[in-house]
């Protein structure tokens, strides 16, 4: 990674890999969602990220903020479920914080990801432990920040974030859902992974792969 920065093509590669992961695993995500939700998370995310990749392919962008505004708005209009406004807000805030630049260093990437997380919290009003995507995203960001603070570059930080997101996802299994459609199930939501946390783990897996 030249000069320890993340380039615009690498960010596009992140999105492409995320699209690939949710599309390959759409059936798995929908199975998770059929256990505790409305059985559409895989289809929604695959459709949304496919629309994102089509949009990016059709209208190349020159800066990070422009790229993620396009990504966020495309998700908002194409996903349908709560993941639309949630991932949409994540990417919109990511872009706004990153700004009109063409590359990000580790700290700037961390700040943009953190802004995205803050956006998800503001939009969904969930807390860690509510059995939502936040349960993968919050530990991922904590791991990312800790790596950067200890002098690691974006690649190492993303790798740590990916591992933490996967652990956070796995830790949602025993939780009782307190937000979203799954919360209607109460205690019966325990014993299943949260589909939003699962797709968020793919988001950080994709980032780690794109920066490897």
């Amino acid at each position: 990674m030249a000069g320890g920065t993340v380039s615009l093509p690498q960010l596009v590669d992140w999105l492409s890999r995320f699209s690939g992961l949710v599309t390959e695993n759409r059936t798995y995500l929908t199975e998770l969602d059929s256990a505790i939700g409305d059985a559409d998370h895989g289809a929604n995310m695959a459709r949304g990220m496919t629309a994102v990749m089509e949009k990016i392919g059709a209208t190349p962008v020159a800066a990070v903020d422009e790229l993620f505004k396009s990504v966020g708005m495309t998700l908002v209009t194409s996903v349908g479920g709560a993941s639309g406004p949630l991932y949409g807000t994540f990417f919109l805030r990511f872009g706004t914080t990153a700004g009109a630049v063409t590359e990000l260093d580790g700290a700037a990437l961390g700040a943009a990801l953190r802004a995205g997380l803050d956006g998800v919290v503001a939009r969904g009003k969930a807390e860690v432990g509510d059995k939502t995507m936040l349960d993968a995203m919050a530990p991922a960001l904590d791991a990312f920040d800790a790596e950067v603070a200890s002098g690691a570059d974006a690649t190492a930080a993303s790798s740590a974030a990916s591992s933490a997101a996967a652990m956070g996802r796995d830790a949602t299994e025993p939780l009782v859902a307190r937000k979203g459609r799954a919360s209607y199930l109460g205690e019966r939501s325990a014993g299943h992974l949260d589909p939003g946390a699962a797709s968020t783990a793919y988001l950080f897996e994709a980032l780690s792969e794109a920066l490897a």
Binding site: R47, G80, G81, P85, R123
Partner: protein, 257 residues
């Protein structure tokens, strides 16, 4: 008149709910815009559609947004970041079908955004009363439908003639009829001995639980008290135009001839 935005996962659900509510409105209707579904035939919601719907009906009196569930709420909140108009917008926490009915009828009567929002929020009170989960005529969950205390200048006792009682359609007719009068009208059900409710409140009227044969006490004050009372008498004694017709609990749901 305020504008109303209807947000639903399903275009079919939204348009059916709006149709159901509009059957209660005889005269001028509020501006209503539906934002339902996402993408091409996708069940879900889209914040940009909600924003466009808000802008479509935005006016000086404000906009009330009614939502079904889940992402509808999140999309409506996000739409507030996207909309171009700067009209006052409130997101209603009312139940979708009952709240929409209350909102549309109340808005059609020219009520303010705050009043329509309060009326919609109280929309479950009549159903709770009917099912015994709260005392009929009691307005403890919804003090807003309770009539403000006014010194009644004129009162009259009238017997409800409609076989189905003061149900949604006649109640909506009464709300619309009273909207034009500069008068405060309250109505109480003597049988239940509940508190008087505002005559301009659909939810208040429905919460009376007034059945055929019940005697209601109508009190009116204000500059047009006499005219308002006369209008109420005319409507109640004529069975709100339902008498002599084939009687059904939901007469408006039949195909119109």
């Amino acid at each position: 008149m305020i504008g109303i935005v209807v947000v639903s996962h399903s275009p079919a659900l939204a348009s059916a709910a709006v149709d159901l509510a509009l059957q209660m409105v005889a005269g001028e209707k509020p501006a209503i815009a539906i934002a339902a579904g996402a993408g091409e035939g996708v069940t879900g919601t889209d914040a940009t559609k909600v924003a466009a719907a808000i802008d479509e009906v935005a006016g000086p009196d404000g906009v009330l947004v009614m939502m079904d569930l889940g992402s509808a709420v999140m999309s409506a909140e996000m739409a507030l970041d996207f909309r171009a108009s700067n009209a006052e917008v409130k997101l209603s926490s009312a139940p979708f079908v009952e709240g929409l009915l209350a909102a549309i009828v109340t808005a059609a009567g020219g009520a303010s955004l705050d009043d329509v929002d309060r009326e919609a929020n109280a929309a479950l009170v009549p159903k709770q009363g009917m099912l015994g989960s709260s005392e009929p005529g009691s307005t403890s969950e919804a003090p807003q439908v309770e009539a403000p205390h006014v010194e009644a200048e004129q009162t009259e006792e009238l017997t409800i003639l409609n076989p189905d009682g003061l149900h949604a359609r006649p109640a909506a007719t009464l709300v619309s009829a009273l909207a034009g009068f500069d008068a405060k009208v309250t109505i109480a059900n003597r049988r239940t001995a509940g508190k008087p409710v505002a005559g301009k409140s659909l939810i208040g009227l429905l919460s009376l639980g007034a059945k055929a044969g019940d005697v209601v006490t109508v009190a009116a004050s204000g500059p047009q008290a006499a005219e308002a009372l006369e209008k109420v008498r005319e409507l109640v004694t004529s069975g709100f135009g339902e008498m002599g017709d084939e009687v059904s609990p939901f007469p408006d749901l039949r195909a119109q001839p």
